[in-house]
Symmetry: C2
Subunit: 438 residues, 2 copies
């Protein structure tokens, strides 16, 4: 962060922070408040307690009151939205007022803005001069994806040092700014240091995960252990907190705990870190120089779309046949009409023929096929809604293998669970095959 004006006061220890979103569009339900959600996660990871999130509209009085309340009860206040050159943009003025600070025109900040515009061949307007009005002394937080920089400043609020941090509203601007500038600043001033290890698991439910590590959770303190769940996946977070005031080197308690989690749950863990399952599958294929073809029925292109979301997919992913209708299963994948008629489209034989036909026709190293009943219609007593077959071909399974699932829930959930479990099976096949082939 860039310092402006002399006399900046050290924020001291930051133990708590409140997140305030300023935006009428959030109050009207036009926009989901993903800023609060994302920032809350960052603060938790930094070990800063967040006890309140608040949303107010573009209304000066109500925004100022919300900031005053937040300053009263927190070491830091993070405000998103309402920065910028237009009349709607009231956050900085109200934050300054709440903090009893004047906005002063900064010639050097203005020169920065002029230079920024010049670099992209534009000239700032009179409106932009407003962005050089700052609650000096303060820090400017560079914005590499937009014109409104962020601002941070400390104030003596009723005898306590408080820190205000203002960020623009668009996530594609405020997230890189937070990561590059605000997070290191907060980490420096939080009372503790945090180290995390994340495990991502598939093929195991939340309840079973919690059972497997119940004794570790019961002992959980420092390091702490927590589980998070999303459709078809479980994440385990291990966190060790170290007080900065502790002078002697503390033992690394994270490594033994991580080893224990690994020992108990190894076969379900597909990632230690931050990558998603499609990303990990793509990376495995890339690493081994293998290609993938796909045949999807009930997921209707969802699995393929999840893979293609990542740049570089084109180097390993050849394509997918979304064989939604039976005729497409025959024409594009060579599934036998007799099998479709006798065993039905949702059957082990069809899933296997889809996978084998897919591998042959794409000429890929691996092939993944799914067929199932996503509902709400189409279920019968013997083939209920949620019945899904996932078949794989390639590697150590050139003749193909198949697994059967019965998922519960509504249509989108069944499709999403199918996608996750299909990628999980594929991940396991690749791992077995590649270590066998080596």
């Amino acid at each position: 962060m860039i310092e402006y004006g002399p006399g900046l006061v050290d924020p001291g220890n930051l133990n708590s922070a409140e997140i305030i979103a300023c935006g009428t569009e959030v109050l009207l339900g036009q926009v989901l408040n993903t800023n609060a959600w994302w920032l809350a996660r960052q603060l938790a990871d930094l070990g800063i307690n967040c006890y309140h999130q608040t949303v107010v509209g573009d209304h000066p009085e109500r925004l100022r009151q919300a900031i005053e309340v937040a300053l009263e009860r927190n070491d830091a206040v993070v405000i998103t939205g309402g920065l910028g050159p237009t009349a709607d943009d009231i956050s900085l003025a109200q934050a300054a007022r709440a903090a009893g600070r004047e906005l002063t025109f900064s010639e050097s900040a203005w020169q920065e803005i002029v230079a920024y515009f010049a670099a992209s061949g534009r000239t700032p307007t009179e409106n932009n001069r407003k962005q050089a009005l700052l609650p000096l002394p303060c820090w400017l937080i560079p914005n590499h994806n937009g014109t409104a920089p962020g601002v941070a400043f400390t104030v003596d609020y009723a005898g306590k040092i408080r820190t205000l941090i203002l960020l623009p509203g668009p996530p594609n601007e405020n997230r890189p700014m937070f990561t590059a500038y605000v997070a290191p600043f907060l980490a420096e001033h939080s009372a503790a240091e945090f180290r995390h290890i994340y495990f991502h698991l598939v093929g195991i439910g939340e309840a079973q995960t919690e059972n497997e590590i119940a004794d570790l959770v019961a002992k959980s303190g420092n390091p702490s252990i927590a589980t998070y769940v999303s459709p078809g996946e479980v994440m385990i977070r291990l966190t060790q907190r170290r007080d900065k005031s502790a002078t002697d080197a503390e033992a690394d308690m994270l490594a033994p705990l991580a080893a224990e989690v690994r020992r108990r749950l190894e076969k379900y863990i597909y990632e230690e870190g931050n990558r998603s399952l499609p990303e990990v599958v793509l990376a495995e294929l890339l690493k081994n120089g293998r290609t993938l073809g796909m045949a999807e029925s009930c997921t209707g292109g969802l699995i393929s779309s999840e893979l293609v979301a990542f740049p570089g997919a084109s180097r390993v992913f050849l394509g997918s046949v979304v064989a939604y209708d039976n005729s497409a299963k025959e024409k594009f994948l060579g599934v036998a009409p007799r099998v479709l008629a006798e065993e039905g489209a949702v059957s082990e034989t069809v899933a296997l023929q889809m996978a084998l036909g897919c591998r042959e026709r794409f000429g890929s190293d691996y092939a993944l096929a799914v067929t199932g009943i996503a509902g709400p219609e189409g279920g019968t007593e013997t083939k209920p809604v949620g019945l899904v077959y996932i078949a794989l071909a390639g590697g150590i399974e050139p003749e193909g293998c198949c697994e059967k699932f019965i998922f519960r829930g509504e249509r989108q959930r069944i499709r999403s669970l199918t996608a996750t479990n299909a990628l999980a099976l594929l991940y396991r096949l690749i791992n077995c095959s590649e270590s066998y082939l080596r």
Copy 2:
């Protein structure tokens, strides 16, 4: 809503409401606060002003304080989460405390709970008795998707009548409860009645939409007119407010305004109502008894997946070839290798060959094909990232037609804009063709 206990006080006019979410998982950023977003939209549609949204954890003192602050400044307070039989579930106790009301055991509510459990062959536990402790007199809000009913009650708070409404946290429980019971209750007690018309548009940007209706927006009062934007789409909402105290029948001012909007923007409007674009396309195909095949490159199955999200897709959607690699474009769609080599995969000729090959091989009435560069890599001076060709075949275009786009933004946005514009073009082709063929 079911009345419990005599002496319920009429809520009077409800002009404002605050939304409080109770949940530590929201404060930790583990869960996105979709409750506040969804409820905010409902309140706006009901004409109830929402000036604040608040999030607190499962912490009795902080929750009670938040409720007190909300009661101070609003006619109504809607609280989500923290209902239920466990020790974590503190909302009702704290709402009662904030309102100065005691919780009393209601034998008749308890009998309802016992009956509810009996109906599903279970017996309530001692814990469930807590759910019969109510701030009598109150209303119970039936929950058809879970065990915790909602509760509403009115209090005299510092001389003003305030209404508290408590709903369980899971969206699949609280949304049906709100729609079936709370919305009619609020509508009855809001000072005004509201009528809405929604227009959904594609093929036009937000700025151009606002230009076209700038004079209508400038005059906007009652009825009001507002635009909302999402990638590739614009929505216009018209709302007429009628004061309930007005005794004489007011003129319908919505119909003439809607007619004017229709007159100016007709060619961009694909829906008047609440259906999404994929839903409308499926309905058009179904209505005309036509089938669809698809060939996707840069979208990688996204368009197909958006269609398959709707039940009944199987009656019109035959499937999609996700021809991500050039070899798949040749093998599955019959694109000429020479054209791929000479003009490149992202070209008008390839898009057209994909659409024609797709229609022929699926044997479908219509075929939609997309090819493009989603980035961040793969762009050149002549073929930049964001270049997309969308081709159609069928109806009045048996030889195919093609449109070229250059979208800006990052990979996901380009893929999403491609999907929306592809479906919009298809919608227009179906409309032209079917009216021509009739």
